[in-house]
């Protein structure tokens, strides 16, 4: 987008401060091209208003709120915690962009440090997944050569996940994860 187009759009949309707006207005007096672009934007806006009026003319909202309330009543099942957490996080991070990136980096680094120390001390894997985690590699159940695919699954807690290692005709084993909704 060219700089002057950008400024003109901001001017049209009322996004410029008073001083800048006055400057653009002055420039428009001597710019035929600018005035034309502005006129085009105005005409498009007029058409939108026509479209808007038409869509409202034939629409009745009578009883709409009651339908919404009824729909809410009919769907009253508890929201899974993971879903609540997801919505909360989306809402939280959407408005704290400047905070969450460094915060997440620090938290990530802290997690890595804790994990590293933990691993050194106990030599055991610490489960870190928030939801149900099913990790499955079939290295342990056969010779390494015969196992040709593996899977590790992280799924929401409400889903049942089961892993299978199936044998092909040539004796190789491939990984299948079954996700039961």
């Amino acid at each position: 987008m060219k700089q002057d187009e950008k400024i003109l759009a901001q001017y049209y949309d009322g996004e410029l401060n008073e001083r800048k707006s006055a400057e653009v207005k002055k420039q428009l007096d001597s710019s035929h091209e600018g005035a034309l672009a502005l006129e085009n934007m105005t005409k498009i806006s007029q058409l939108f208003q026509v479209l808007h009026e038409q869509s409202q003319e034939s629409t009745s909202f009578e009883g709409f709120d009651k339908r919404v309330i009824n729909a809410i009543r009919s769907q009253k099942t508890p929201v899974p915690f993971s879903e609540k957490l997801r919505v909360w996080a989306t809402e939280f991070f959407a408005h704290r962009k400047l905070v969450w990136i460094p915060a997440a980096s620090v938290a990530g680094a802290a997690c890595v440090a804790v994990l590293a120390v933990g691993l050194q001390n106990s030599k055991q894997m610490i489960p870190t997944m928030p939801d149900r985690t099913d990790s499955s590699t079939w290295q342990a159940s056969g010779t390494t050569d015969s196992i040709v695919s593996t899977v590790a699954v992280t799924a929401p807690s409400e889903m049942n996940v089961e892993e299978f290692s199936l044998e092909t005709d040539n004796g190789q084993r491939i990984a299948v994860v079954w996700i039961d909704e």
């Binding site: 993971s82 879903e83 997801r86 939801d131 590699t137 040709v148 695919s149 593996t150 899977v151 590790a152 699954v153 992280t154 799924a155 929401p156 889903m159 996940v161 089961e162 299978f164 199936l166 044998e167 092909t168 005709d169 190789q172 491939i174 990984a175 299948v176 994860v177 079954w178 996700i179 039961d180 909704e181």
Partner: protein
């Protein structure tokens, strides 16, 4: 002064040459790192139609648990994707199923792949797979119109 300038030009040319050569080899490496994956979408049902001819090579797989609960397997689609490392690609999947596939590099001789699946507005399921060249791994069980979906991912470097 003139000599110094010539030397300077020679040095600059050498640097440019090496940079260009490195760039070309880097590009070649980058291209080499790409893998080709096929994603087979299969519908498992009890419609009595048996196994699709195109799936015959995996006949023994479909007689084992958990697939032995179904008597018919139909290949719905077979799509090919070219994946660059660490760049998830959106998959074309049946309606209401969203998925991405990401190539995460090699683990020994196996390809590391992340398959992420989800329904609209639902938390995703992350399947971290490793697979030998040309060997599939499968994610199955999600509800389909007539049974369950089976997604088989097979990649080659």
């Amino acid at each position: 002064m003139k000599k110094a300038t010539s030397m300077h030009i020679v040095n600059v040319s050498t640097i440019v040459f090496f940079l260009a050569a490195s760039f070309i080899s880097f590009r070649a490496d980058a291209a080499d790192e790409q893998i080709v994956c096929k994603v087979f979408t299969i519908e498992a049902t009890n419609s009595g139609l048996g196994l699709d001819d195109s799936l015959k090579q995996y006949a023994s797989i479909f007689t084992q648990k958990p697939f032995n609960a179904f008597n018919s397997f139909k290949l719905v689609s077979e799509k090919e994707y070219r994946l660059a490392p660490n760049q998830p690609l959106k998959l074309t999947l049946p309606e209401q199923l969203i998925g991405t596939l990401e190539y995460r590099g090699m683990s020994g001789t196996r390809l590391k792949l992340n398959l992420k699946l989800s329904r609209q507005d639902c938390s995703p399921i992350l399947i971290e797979g490793t697979a030998g060249n040309g060997v599939p791994f499968m994610a199955a069980g999600l509800k389909s119109p007539n049974g369950r979906w089976v997604l088989a991912v097979k990649c080659k470097d």
